[in-house]
C-alpha cells in the first residue's frame, strides 16, 4: 500500500529520519519488523532486568529504560537496525558514577541514575546539534578495547556477590576484591547451585540449542526465535523453582515486588551538587555509548549498502536518554549483540524498535507480578555469561607486536580501570594516547634524498643507491609543519649543516607538506636567517598549490634566500654547476 507522496521540508527530514523511511513503509516491511521485534523482546526482557541489577537499580527500571528510549530512537536516528536499551558497560558506568553520590538501594540512588540519563541525553543531543561527533575520534581503538576488557572483569566481579549470595561493595579491584574475599564464607549453597545451573545452561544454550531445535523439524523462523529464549527459560525455571521449593526462605535472594503498569512520568531533580558530581561521568557515558553505537550501526548499515549519519545518531541517542530519564529509566545506548540479533532476524526499519518497546510495555504491565520469586543469582548468571563471551585481551598481544605506544595505551587503560575505576582508567587512556601521538608528531620523519641514477626520482639516501652533490643537501619532510615539530626542524637543519664546509644549498622537498602553521612559518624564517650565517641558501621544491597560495600572502617568499622550484629535479639542475655525480 503506497502512501501518498508529501513533500517534507529538508530540515525536518534531516532531524526526523522517520519521515523518510515511514513514507515507504509496506506490509512486507511490517512483517519483517514484527518478527525481529519479537525476538529482540524475548532477549531484552531478562537483559533489561539484569542490567538494572548491574546498575544497582530496581529491576523495573530496566524495563522502563527499554520502552520510551526505543520509541525516541526510532523517530530520530538514522540506523535502521540498532537496538537501544540498557547495556552492560553503560550500566556498570552508571553504578560507578551514581555510587559516588548515593547509597545503592536508596531513593537518591535511583534519582541520581535518572539525572545521569538526562545529562547524557542533553550532552548527546548538544553534541549532535553542534556536530561534535568528531570528539569520539579521540577514543582510540586500543583505549576502547582496554577499557572494555577491564570493565567486563569489573562487571563479572560485581556479580559474584549475587552468584554466591553474599554481601560485598566497591567499584574497583582494590575495594571490591577484599570485600568479596572477606564475606566468602557466608556464601549460600542453594544460591550457588542456582548460579551454576543457570550459567551452565546459558553457556550450553548459546551454541547447543539451535541444532537441537532444527533437528526437531521446526520452521526456520521458529528455531531462530526459540534459540534466543535461553535467558527467558532461565528466568522462568529458576523463578518457578524458588516459588515451588520455597527457596527464598533458605536464603536465596529474590527480586521481590515489582510495580506493575506503564512507566511513571518523572521530573528529574535539578540539584546542582548532584549534577556537577555526575557531569564528568555523563560525558564519558555519552561518548563511550556513542562510539559503541556508531561502530555497530555503521557495520550493520554497510552490510545492506546503507549509511548512518553519526551526528544524527547523537541526536537519536540523546533523545533516547532523555526519554529514559522522563520515564524513570537510566542511561541507554545501542547494544552490540542485541543489534546483531535484530539485524539477523530481518529488521528492516526502526519500527522494529518501536514494536519491541510495545513488547516490553506489555511485560511491564502484565509480567511483573510473576517475577516476584525471580532469584537475583539467575539475573547475575545472565549478565556474566553475556559479558564473559565478549572478554578479549587480544589487543594487548596485537599492539605489543604492532605498535608499542598503542600497547602502553591499552596496558595503562586496563590497569587503571581495574584499580581505580572506569572514569580514571578511560581518562588516563585518552590523555596518554593523545600525548603519545603529539610526542611522535614532534619528531617527524625527515629523509635526506638523492637522485635515483638516470631518473627524475629522488629517494632516501639511506635506503637507495642515489646520486648527491657535495654542495647541496635535499631534505624531504614527511609531515605537516606545525608548532610541535617546528623547533625539531630548526635543530635538524642546523645540526646537518654545522661543519659541512662545502655546503651551499639546502633544499626542502615539500611533497608531503599540506599545512605550515604560523610557528613553522617563523621557524622557516629563523632557518633562512641561520643558514645565511653559514652562507647557505634555502630553497623549496614541489610545494603544493594550497600551501604556496598561503605563502604568497606572507613575507616568506621575499625573505627566502633561495628559490621555489616546481620539481626537485629542476632544483638540482639549477643548483648543481656540474650535473650531480
Amino acid at each position: 500500500m503506497a502512501k501518498p507522496r508529501v513533500s517534507i521540508p529538508k530540515p525536518l527530514r534531516q532531524y526526523l529520519p522517520i519521515l523518510e523511511w515511514g513514507k515507504a513503509y509496506s506490509r512486507d516491511t511490517l512483517s519483517n519488523d514484527l518478527v525481529a521485534a519479537t525476538i529482540v523482546t524475548i532477549m531484552l526482557i531478562p537483559q533489561s532486568l539484569a542490567y538494572a541489577l548491574l546498575a544497582g537499580l530496581p529491576p523495573e527500571m530496566g524495563l522502563y529504560a527499554s520502552i520510551l528510549p526505543l520509541i525516541a530512537y526510532a523517530m530520530f536516528a538514522t540506523s535502521r537496525v540498532l537496538a537501544v536499551g540498557p547495556v552492560a558497560i553503560v550500566s556498570l558506568m552508571t553504578a560507578s558514577a551514581v555510587g559516588q553520590v548515593a547509597l545503592s538501594g536508596s531513593t537518591e540512588y535511583a534519582t541520581a541514575a535518572i539525572v545521569l540519563a538526562l545529562m547524557s541525553g542533553l550532552i548527546l543531543l548538544g553534541m549532535g546539534l553542534l556536530r561534535l561527533g568528531f570528539l569520539a575520534n579521540f577514543l582510540s581503538h586500543p583505549v576502547i578495547a582496554g577499557f572494555m576488557a577491564a570493565a567486563i572483569i569489573l562487571i563479572a566481579m560485581s556479580q559474584f556477590k549475587h552468584l554466591l549470595g553474599i554481601k560485598a561493595s566497591g567499584s574497583n579491584l582494590l575495594t571490591l576484591g577484599p570485600s568479596l574475599f572477606k564475606n566468602l564464607l557466608s556464601a549460600n549453597w542453594i544460591t550457588i547451585l542456582i548460579s551454576i545451573g543457570a550459567s551452565g545452561f546459558l553457556i550450553w544454550a548459546r551454541k547447543g540449542l539451535k541444532p537441537i531445535l532444527s533437528r526437531l523439524g521446526l520452521g526456520v523462523q521458529l528455531v531462530t526465535i526459540l534459540s534466543k529464549t535461553g535467558p527467558l527459560v532461565v528466568v522462568a525455571v529458576t523463578t518457578f523453582l524458588v516459588w515451588a521449593l520455597g527457596l527464598d526462605k533458605h536464603g536465596v535472594a529474590i527480586v521481590g515486588t515489582l510495580p506493575q503498569g506503564i512507566p511513571p512520568l518523572v521530573m528529574p531533580t535539578f540539584d546542582a551538587a548532584v549534577w556537577s558530581s555526575l557531569a564528568m561521568s555523563a560525558v564519558m557515558i555519552s561518548i563511550i555509548g556513542f562510539v559503541e553505537s556508531v561502530s555497530v550501526g555503521q557495520t550493520l548499515a554497510a552490510r545492506r549498502k546503507q549509511r548512518i549519519v553519526p551526528n544524527q545518531e547523537l541526536i537519536g541517542l540523546g533523545m533516547s536518554n532523555i526519554g529514559s530519564a522522563v520515564s524513570g529509566g537510566f542511561p541507554v545506548t545501542g547494544g552490540f549483540s542485541r543489534s546483531v540479533v535484530n539485524f539477523d532476524s530481518g529488521a528492516k526499519t526502526p519500527a522494529a524498535g518501536a514494536f519491541t518497546a510495545i513488547g516490553i510495555l506489555l511485560a511491564a504491565m502484565f509480567l511483573t507480578p510473576l517475577l516476584y520469586f525471580l532469584p537475583k543469582a539467575a539475573l547475575s548468571s545472565i549478565i556474566i555469561v553475556a559479558v564473559l563471551s565478549m572478554l578479549d585481551f587480544s589487543m594487548l598481544k596485537k599492539t605489543w607486536a604492532y605498535s608499542k605506544p598503542d600497547f602502553w595505551a591499552v596496558a595503562v587503560t586496563i590497569t587503571l580501570t581495574l584499580l581505580m575505576g572506569v572514569k580514571i582508567g578511560v581518562s588516563a587512556g585518552v590523555i596518554l594516547s593523545m600525548v603519545l601521538y603529539l610526542y611522535a608528531a614532534t619528531k617527524p620523519h625527515i629523509a635526506e634524498v638523492g637522485r635515483v641514477p638516470d631518473t627524475e626520482h629522488y629517494r632516501n639516501i639511506l635506503r637507495h643507491s642515489v646520486e648527491t652533490s657535495p654542495t647541496i643537501v635535499t631534505l624531504r619532510i614527511d609531515a605537516n609543519l606545525f608548532f610541535g615539530n617546528a623547533r625539531f626542524l630548526e635543530d635538524y637543519i642546523l645540526e646537518r649543516v654545522v661543519g659541512d664546509e662545502n655546503l651551499k644549498h639546502v633544499i626542502l622537498q615539500c611533497t608531503a607538506i599540506n599545512e605550515i602553521d604560523m610557528s613553522a612559518l617563523e621557524s622557516l624564517e629563523t632557518i633562512i636567517d641561520r643558514l645565511n650565517s653559514f652562507n647557505i641558501k634555502l630553497h623549496l621544491s614541489e610545494v603544493k598549490g594550497p600551501v604556496m597560495d598561503r605563502l604568497k600572502h606572507t613575507h616568506f617568499l621575499q625573505d627566502l634566500s633561495g628559490e621555489v622550484f616546481l620539481t626537485q629535479h629542476q632544483a638540482m639542475d639549477a643548483l648543481s654547476n656540474n650535473p650531480p655525480h
Copy 2:
C-alpha cells in the same frame, strides 16, 4: 698559551662543557670576554635591581640572582654568549606566583621566591637529564607572542604605582586596573617628574647617545661601553638628586637600606603547602624561560657557526636557578637584550658570564650603601622603557592573515593573560593550540586522484584535468593514519561508495602515509569488511617501505580483498579492463 691536552671522559665533557672550551682558553679570548663582561655588568646592575622590584622583592635579591647563577651557567651550559640573570617576564611571573602564597614585602614572600627558583632549577635539571626538552615544542609561537604582549602590558601597569608614587595591588587587568584608578589622585608630583625625566632620558639614550659619543672622537670600544650606561646614569643622577634635595622627605619612595656584602647562603624552606601551590608556576617559569633562552642562544650560536645542545641548556639553566636559590636569589633565565649585547660586545666564551658575576659581586660588596637614596620611580622607568620597546602585537595581524586557528590561539592567550593572569593565560593558549591541532588532524586532506593524460602521474581530480575509470576510485590520503582520523577515513570511503553502482575497486594511494597506528589498522579492516558488502575490493598503492614492513607482521595483508601495488600506475593498469578513459 696552549694548555696541555688532557683526555677527559665523555660523560664529564658532555655534562660540563666548560671542560671543552676551557682547554682552548687564550689571552685573546680573555680580553674579548673581559670587555663584554664590563658592558654587561653596567647593564645588569640597574636591571637586576629593577627586576627585583618588579618581582616584588628587595633590590639586593636582584644582585644575588646575578652572581652564582652566572657562574653555574658558565660551567654547565653550551651557549657561549647567553647572558642569564633576572629578566622582566620571569620576574613578573615570579611576582604573580609568589603573590598567591604570601604578602609582598613579607619574609614569607622572599622565602617563597627562593623556593620558586629552587623548584624551577630542579624541574629544568630534571627535564635536561630526562631529555624532555621537546616539551617546549608545545608552546607555539603565537601563544608565546600573545603571552609576551600581554605580560608586557601587565609589567608596565604594575610599574605605574612607582612612577606615580601611589599604592596599588593586583596581578591582572581586573584587579590592578581599578586599584590604580582609585588611588590616582594621591599621586606624588615630584615622583612623576622623576619618572618623566628618567624615562625621557632612557628613550633618548637608546638611540641618541651613541652618535654623540662617536662625534666626541672616543674609541669605538669606549663608545660601545658608554652607550650602554643610560640606566646607570639614571640611577646615579636620580639618587644624587634625591639625596641633594632631600626629596625622600617630600614623598618620593626610595630603595632604603640594602645589605652590603656577598650573597648569604640560604637553605630554602621545604614547606609542602608552599611547594605544592608554587608547582604549576614553577613548571611554567621553567618552560617559558627555557624557550626564550634556547631561541636566543640558537640564533646567536648560528651567527658564529656554532650550535647549542638544548637538553644541556636545560641542565645549565637548572643549575643557574638552583644557584640562585641557595644564594638568596629568585628565578633567572637567559635575557634577550643582554645576550645580544654580550654577543655584540665580542664575548667569546661563557667565562664572560663569570666575569660579569664578579662585577656584580663587587657591586653587592661596595655599591649598595650608595643606593640608599635611589628612587623606586627611577627603577620603574628603567623597567618600562626596557619592556615597552619589546611590545609587539603584530602576531595578531600576521595570524589573522595567515592562519585563523593561530589567530584564535593568540587572541585567547592575550585576553586571558590580561584578565586572569599569566598562569591561566598560557595554559589556555597551550591547550587551545593543541586542541585546534588535533581537531585539524581529525580531518585529513583526502584527494580523489586521476591520471594526468599520457603520464604516470596521478593528481587531484578537482585541480587537474585527469583521466579516471568508472569502476575505480583512487584516494590519496595526505596524512598519517591514527586514531584521530581513522573514523573519518571510514566515513569518507563509505560515503564515497554508497550509491556508486559501477564501482568495483577502491585504491588507497599511500604516498604520504608514514605511520598507521593500531586504531587505523583496525579501521582499514573495517573498511575492507564494509566494502566487501558492496562487492568492492580495497587495494593499496605506493606503500612506503617501513609501513609495509610493519603491515607484514599483521593479518592485514591476508584480510585485504585486493592487492598492494608498487605504483599507482601499475594498480590502474592491472585493474582497468580497458585503459582508463
